[in-house]
Symmetry: C2
Subunit: 332 residues, 2 copies
């Protein structure tokens, strides 16, 4: 196995704790540092509820942790918003450490934040490190996975991905996030506030288009409630008829009035069976199904941890998941 890879964890929320648990069990990984604004001074093992101390105290001093513990990679899990976290990312890059982040908007930042993206890329190259955003979605299900499957195609004309999730047995914050049990008015208010929204469809569409060499005219998204037609009881809440059982969000990548890419995200309590499916129209056509779907939290933690080796090996710069896999080439 060679020497252990030195990793620091930045952000000790649900995902950060999950990452810590997995890293602590991997023989080829060593957790050397922990960064957060909360629980400063406490042991990471205690905060992540590992049932043992790790000998790693949480600190709020980014540069100090990197300088003292010399990690090769930082797993960064603080926010979905690139505007909120890009200064954190810059601090890490300047400290010459590779970064794997769960920031959804970092998964493919070139479209919404071209200036931040090119700045991060330039800084990463100057400091000879990589920075990449990943997770289950964006980062895998609606971008890397369909792109990877195009590897067996000589031509790709159209891509559709659907993620259908029965949220009945997911944790309460997830059920609340998808609007389960809200009235139509409450649902629409949450949408207007921007709190009820899966972040990543536009990023995934832009990544697929870039990976396949497609120049889209436009990317659009729709969001609407999935309404309960009868009373639905989940493990935690009861949804009355007429209330929202969950959310349906669809992203489209357009070229000349045609949706070349369609990403359909549905999550609701009492939904049909969960599954993920990729449909590729091309040579050959391809339909690929993950039966029962992919567990969101576990898969996000897995993608962050499993991306560590490639984040070290890849050429310096801002990477996206499409750079780390093989997919179909542009052209007929």
């Amino acid at each position: 196995m060679g020497r252990k890879i030195r990793v620091a964890q930045f952000g000790i929320g649900v995902i950060g704790r999950g990452v810590t648990k997995v890293l602590a069990q991997k023989g080829n990984m060593k957790i050397v540092g922990a960064i957060d604004l909360a629980n400063v001074g406490q042991d990471l093992g205690d905060v992540a509820k590992l049932g043992k101390k790790l000998g790693v105290a949480i600190s709020d001093d980014i540069e100090g942790v990197i300088r003292k513990t010399k990690p090769q990679v930082v797993i960064h899990t603080t926010s979905s918003s690139l505007k909120k976290v890009h200064m954190e990312l810059e601090s890490l890059i300047r400290a010459k450490v590779n970064v794997v982040s769960s920031c959804e908007e970092l998964s493919y930042p070139y479209r919404k934040y071209p200036k931040i993206a090119s700045r991060l890329d330039r800084l990463a190259k100057e400091n000879q490190v990589t920075v990449v955003g990943t997770g289950v979605n964006p980062g895998f299900l609606m971008d890397a996975w369909p792109l990877f499957m195009t590897g067996v195609c000589t031509e790709v004309k159209e891509i559709r991905v659907s993620r259908i999730q029965d949220a009945s047995h997911r944790r309460i914050p997830f059920q609340e996030k998808i609007g389960a049990g809200k009235t139509l008015k409450e649902f629409n208010e949450l949408v207007a506030k921007g709190t009820l929204r899966h972040v990543g469809l536009s990023e995934s569409i832009a990544m697929i288009a870039s990976g396949l060499g497609w120049s889209l005219d436009d990317i659009t998204e729709t969001i609407e409630p999935i309404l309960a037609h009868k009373e639905i009881r989940s493990d935690y809440i009861t949804v009355k008829p007429g209330q929202a059982a969950g959310v349906k969000q669809v992203g489209y990548g357009w070229e000349k009035g045609k949706a070349l890419i369609t990403l359909n995200f549905e999550a609701a309590v009492g939904a049909q069976e969960s599954y993920d499916v990729v449909n590729i129209a091309g040579t050959p056509n391809l339909e690929v199904i993950i039966k029962g779907g992919t567990h969101g939290d576990i898969a996000t933690v897995a993608m962050l941890v499993n991306s560590i080796p490639k984040s070290i090996e890849a050429q310096p710069g801002l990477k996206t998941m499409k750079d780390l896999i093989i997919s179909a080439l542009p052209g007929k």
Copy 2:
């Protein structure tokens, strides 16, 4: 798109012609050279039946073609046997050109041919190029694809892959290759001669094990006929009851008496519906299905062509498909 990638084709058989057709349609690729022992002096476009000339004459002089046409990548499609082709590969590497090969035994050569593998790796590093073996199987379905799917797992305990192919509508050489219409005696003779055998199960098992950091005690393979219980008519042949309709080959990767990896390959005329399936036992469990299966010839051509960019970008050396993707890390 940037500048076109200069590619030469080495081996102008069924797969080599397929590669030529696809490359000729890709705007970012330029076919600059062609190598084969047959049809020397003829135009590659004529031999590949493109309906147009490519201005590329087939030559049997490996070094001459590389020196004169300066390709960045050679697509090598001459034989399944690494013993037969490793001198061809060495010539290409010494000429400082990246190589993407369909040679099944090159897909993961470290187990059967450790000396050839380390020699190719050393030579490739000395000459600052990459060499990689790929295709649909080995190269994708039973190694890269299951490994890629483990990317969403925090732990992997066991992997099973099945490829079930209804060969009724495949080309005659494929039906003959799988023993369709042979008597049991003929079938067993062909197996003994080594001509009736899918090459790659052991390579795929070794690649998965290496990718997941598993040290297997042993790798074994079984091969047996799938017998027709009633008369079966394919597009080309008729199989009588008691004759072989096709072949079932199973590869096992063993650790402490347990098969951690099981690869099941079945191809027969009149078989049940075609499909490919990956089953991962781990955290989480995963079942992924390609409905209708993957078209073997098209997918092999696609994997060869689609691997070109990574073969240029990757660090020099002998690569296997596991090096070019993200998959689960070793350890619990």
